[in-house]
């Protein structure tokens, strides 16, 4: 079981991801609907994994990813995005993301990635 922080501006996507975490018996420690305040929550809670949406208003996922990695280079962050642009994926991985989940996703895919990243 891993402690997970979930960041996505879509209520529906957060809802689905929370279901997936229930199935995977992971522990949701924080849920945020924007990139604002994510670093502060990360510092406070130190979750095992952050599920982080790329496209969010006000502060995008890539900016948040860089902030967290600059604070904790060992942070395990999984990016979530509808963009299959290879440059975007590479940029996230270069910035320190452990994996990249493409929307639309399914239960198996997300759980496999969480399990793999939590063991890394």
């Amino acid at each position: 079981m891993s402690s997970i922080m979930l960041v996505d501006d879509s209520d529906a996507i957060r809802m689905v991801l929370k279901d997936i975490l229930v199935i995977g018996k992971h522990d949701l420690v924080a849920e945020l609907s924007s990139g604002i305040g994510v670093l502060e929550e990360y510092v406070k809670l130190r979750p095992d994994i952050v599920l982080l949406d790329m496209a969010m208003p006000k502060k995008d996922g890539l900016t948040v990813l860089k902030e967290i990695i600059s604070y904790d280079p060992k942070a395990r962050i999984i990016m979530i995005s509808a963009s299959d642009n290879q440059e975007t994926v590479k940029e996230c991985i270069r910035a320190g993301a452990r994996s990249y989940v493409l929307k639309p996703f399914n239960f198996h895919e997300v759980l496999d990635i969480i399990n793999r990243v939590s063991k890394s």
Binding site: A12, I13, D19, V22, K103, P104, F105, H108, N115
Partner: protein, 140 residues
């Protein structure tokens, strides 16, 4: 049962099934909001040049629909959003594209129809038309 190597109880699965109706309600509301925003943008955007000026804004809404629609079993809408997203991305990075306003307007009209349950709306002819109009964009 086992999901991704994890034993899952019937209770867990029931919880998920119970949530799915709520998910569909919330997802539908979010997609409606994205389509409404696109309609609003298109009201003040009447040609290809203006569409270029609004392309970043349009892209954000298309991107959201592209990711969410297939998860609520709106595959046709997801496909239209994916094609449109690709066009708008091209416009955003390359500038005004002839015919793009008409195509994005048609895309929004079809997505709206699909949201309200119009079963006659097709995607294949739209996809074919777009790919024939912009073969260079879809070669990539």
């Amino acid at each position: 049962m086992t999901v991704a190597g994890i034993k899952v109880s019937i209770k867990d699965m029931c919880q998920v099934v119970k949530m799915s109706d709520e998910f569909l309600r919330v997802a539908r509301q979010e997609i409606k909001s994205e389509i409404d925003s696109l309609k609003k943008i298109l009201l003040s955007c009447t040609n290809d040049k203006q569409l270029y000026a609004e392309s970043n804004n349009i892209e954000k809404h298309m991107h959201k629909i592209k990711g969410l629609a297939p998860m609520m079993e709106q595959e046709k809408m997801g496909k239209i959003a994916k094609i449109s997203d690709q066009i708008v991305k091209h416009v955003s990075s390359h500038g005004t594209l002839t015919g793009s306003h008409d195509i994005i307007s048609e895309a929004v009209k079809r997505m709206s129809g699909l949201l309200y349950g119009d079963l006659d709306i097709q995607v294949d002819d739209f996809e074919k038309h777009v790919k024939n109009t912009y073969p260079d964009i879809f070669e990539l």
